[in-house]
């Protein structure tokens, strides 16, 4: 009898252990980043050197996009605007704690968002917050944001991947600690080596499925693919489509094609001859065969863009026809005083594995219009610091942002990351008009006018928005098939 009781109790205990461990966080998920900002890499989401692969897992926004791309609650539970959309009230989620144990409240929201506007920090996200004049703490879990203009789409701006909530007053240390309310806690931050995150058991959406996340610095694109092949990392969101065949039909990997608003482009500095002439810039853009680039570089998995940075799925996107026009390009070049064409050097690096190929294909396309393009490789480790926004012609890549954000950030006269040094009063005015316009139809028209201006005179040639090939090892489960900033990381599991 004693033995039977013993047996039953042992079985019960082991059953209990099995059930409890099934719910606990387990396994290590490994991913990589390209160490794009070298020693400046940090965990402060609003700075230039932000390591977004980490902050998206450790910190939350007020508002996020759900899996269908619609603005939905994150740390704010609901919101409403006043009649002319100049004041927005956000109710905050209660009972949420930061990794340091402190409560998340309205003061933290005010602090986190107002510091984006701090000129000393010089945040590249500053433009997203430029319309906010003040944030009023109504009570411990309600804030009222006051804008200097009507802005019907204001909550959409707050889905910006950098507008993360951090504890009030933590600005000096956040770059190293990465403290937030997210599903993972920074255990060890090593930008140039392996950064280790551990599960936050008290996460407000439930305990994460993973015990640890390792974020490993691998600067070279090709090396990241090799790292995935050899099992050193579990996920690579930058696999070139040309390499899809390596993973197709291999049971160790899972491939997913995700359409995105991420784009690749070539920047011509508008303050540098001969690109200071808008006709030259337009001629270069007209000489490019975008569909051929999509086919050759992306294996067809991209959406042609006529130099608009606005995502294909965005409601404000301007779609137009921009087929290659060699004669038109030649004509513009002659009008600009270059009847015999121009010479240019395109600076590339392997930071983005497709850059050299894009340049190589463009080289042949541009030659037809008398534009002689040389390709100059530059070191990938220092690309953003030494090449981008320094050389007259260089490749670029941007992640998806809402229409208003990307148009402001990459083209507004006062934007920090105005990579082509583009200055246009009419473009700036269109953006300002759009923000102040409550009528959707008129607002859309203003945003589209701004995009038309870009087609006429911008310095950035944007051939396409990429569809992303996401390759994970097959042991990864429950990874949402959406762009990286909408993934619900606490759901991810590994076998």
């Amino acid at each position: 009898m004693k033995n039977i009781i013993k047996l039953i109790s042992v079985s019960l205990i082991s059953l209990l252990v099995t059930f409890s461990s099934a719910n606990a966080s387990s396994g290590v998920f490994k991913l990589s980043h390209d160490l794009g900002f070298g020693k400046d890499t940090n965990l402060d989401a609003i700075t230039k050197g932000r390591l977004f692969q980490v902050v998206i897992m450790t910190q939350n926004r007020l508002v996020r996009k759900n899996l269908d791309g619609v603005t939905s609650p994150e740390l704010a539970t609901d919101w409403s605007g006043n009649s002319d959309a100049t004041e927005w009230t956000f109710n905050l989620r209660k009972g949420v704690k930061f990794h340091d144990g402190s409560d998340f409240d309205a003061e933290d929201v005010k602090y986190s968002l107002m510091r984006v506007k701090d000129p000393d920090i010089g945040s590249p996200a500053k433009k997203s917050m430029s319309s906010v004049t003040d944030i009023e703490v109504v009570d411990s879990h309600t804030v009222k944001m006051k804008l200097n203009t009507s802005f019907a789409d204001f909550p959409l701006l707050l889905t910006d991947y950098r507008l993360r909530m951090i504890p009030s007053g933590s600005g000096d240390t956040i770059g190293q600690t990465g403290i937030g309310t997210g599903p993972f806690i920074v255990e060890k931050f090593d930008a140039e080596g392996t950064t280790i995150l551990k599960a936050n058991p008290d996460y407000w959406e439930g305990a994460p499925g993973l015990a640890e996340v390792h974020v490993i610095a691998i600067p070279d694109g090709e090396a990241r693919v090799q790292a995935l092949l050899t099992g050193q990392i579990d996920m690579n969101r930058y696999v070139p489509f040309a390499q899809k065949k390596i993973f197709d039909g291999n049971s160790k990997f899972k491939t997913t094609v995700v359409p995105t608003g991420n784009w690749r482009g070539m920047v011509m500095r508008t303050d540098t001859a001969p690109f200071d002439n808008p006709k030259v810039r337009k001629a270069v853009r007209m000489a490019v065969d975008r569909q051929e680039l999509v086919d050759l570089v992306m294996g067809g998995a991209a959406t042609v863009s006529c130099d608009t940075p606005v995502a294909p799925s965005d409601q404000y996107r301007l779609d137009m026809d921009c087929s290659q026009d060699i004669n038109g390009a030649k004509k513009l070049l002659s009008e600009a005083g270059y009847p015999n064409g121009i010479e240019m050097t395109i600076h590339v690096s392997t930071k983005e594995p497709t850059w050299p190929t894009i340049a190589e294909v463009m080289q042949q396309q541009l030659a037809k219009a008398g534009i002689k393009a040389d390709i100059q490789m530059t070191p990938s480790k220092s690309y953003w610091k030494e090449t981008w926004m320094k050389k007259a012609v260089a490749m670029t890549r941007w992640n998806e942002r809402p229409a208003d954000s990307i148009l402001h950030e990459a083209y507004h006269s006062g934007a920090k990351w105005n990579e082509s040094f583009y200055k246009s009063a009419s473009f700036d005015k269109n953006l300002a008009d759009a923000r102040g316009e409550l009528d959707f139809g008129k607002r859309k028209k203003a945003y589209q006018n701004a995009q038309k201006t870009l087609w006429e005179e911008a310095g950035t040639m944007i051939p396409y928005h990429v569809s992303k090939l996401v390759v994970t090892s097959s042991r990864v489960k429950n990874l949402d098939e959406v762009e990286v900033f909408s993934v619900r990381w606490h759901k991810v599991q590994v076998d």
């Binding site: 090709e222 693919v225 070139p240 040309a242 390499q243 065949k245 390596i246 051929e292 086919d295 050759l296 294996g299 590339v348 690096s349 392997t350 594995p353 050299p356 190929t357 340049a359 190589e360 294909v361 080289q363 042949q364 040389d374 390709i375 100059q376 490789m377 530059t378 070191p379």
Partner: protein
């Protein structure tokens, strides 16, 4: 009349010497194979633009990654370009740049080494320590620095490669000079009051020439490998010029399913390096030089 005869005889003797060396080299199987490969590559470099069946830079989305066929012997690459065309043209730039690079390396490395060996003393000490310091710098880092600052044009690459590969020759030339300066004819030349320049030109160079030439031939194959490494990293030849290193780099990610795009340039590069090595080996043996000591045997 007499003088003319003498000079005729001299010319012939040089011609005879060269052909004698070539015949000796080709008489051994390894030398014959090496020479054949080298001659084949040099001929290919000259003739490939006329032999190429397709335009080396013509891209075509409809022809991406075609397997080898009767139409495209070596298949096509990820941009739909003919791999056979690009492979036979892929050695031209590398061969040209490294050939002239080796000449520069031979010239400055050889002359500086001989000079240091002859004068000795403090000048020798200082120069050799500077050379040692440069030898301790990994050449690829220094080359990357130079090409990122100055670009990858031929005018930059040839002198830069010539400089970095000449450092080793300084040591060899100096050691070879040390072997001859103690000999009686140098002592007598000094006693006759000949200048250093005259001693170098008339007495030393004829005696160390063979050792330096053999070293130069070896440097050529190393430089070829080094240059291809630079191209592989994207810092050598600029697209669309076909180049083996660049082709390997572009196609390496596709190796598991489009092996043809990567195998052809690998065979091209490795066969040329083997060819030069075998030739240099045979050259050394034909001149009676033991390559392990770089000294006449």
């Amino acid at each position: 009349m007499e003088i003319n005869k003498v000079s005729d005889f001299k010319k012939k003797s040089i011609f005879f010497k060269v052909s004698e060396v070539l015949v000796t080299m080709a008489s051994k199987p390894s030398g014959f194979i090496g020479l054949s490969i080298l001659v084949f590559h040099i001929l290919l470099a000259f003739l490939s633009p006329y032999l190429a069946p397709y335009d080396f830079k013509a891209i075509d989305p409809t022809l991406m990654l075609q397997a080898p066929s009767s139409e495209y012997w070596f298949g096509t690459d990820s941009l739909g370009r003919d791999v056979f065309t690009r492979t036979i043209m892929g050695g031209r730039t590398a061969l040209t740049i490294t050939f002239f690079g080796s000449l520069i390396a031979l010239l400055w490395g050889g002359l500086l080494g001989i000079f240091c060996g002859l004068v000795g003393g403090k000048i020798d000490d200082v120069v050799m320590r500077v050379v040692d310091a440069f030898l301790s710098i990994p050449w690829i880092l220094a080359m990357l620095l130079i090409v990122s600052l100055l670009g990858t044009s031929t005018e930059v690459l040839i002198p830069a490669l010539g400089f970095f590969y000449g450092k080793g020759i300084v040591r060899v030339a100096r050691a070879a000079t040390h072997d001859v300066i103690a000999k009686d004819f140098i002592v007598s030349a000094r006693a006759r009051g000949h200048s250093n320049l005259s001693i170098i030109w008339n007495e030393i160079i004829p005696n160390v020439r063979d050792a330096i030439l053999v070293e130069g031939a070896m440097r050529w194959s190393w430089m070829l490998l080094g240059f291809s490494s630079l191209s592989f990293l994207g810092f050598g030849v600029s697209p669309p010029t076909p180049d083996w290193g660049l082709m390997i780099s572009n196609a390496r990610g596709l190796m598991s399913f489009a092996y043809w795009a990567v195998i052809a340039p690998i065979v091209g590069l490795s066969s040329l390096i083997i060819g030069i090595n075998l030739t240099a080996d045979a050259f050394a043996k034909a001149l009676g030089i033991d390559r392990s000591t770089k000294a006449p045997v």
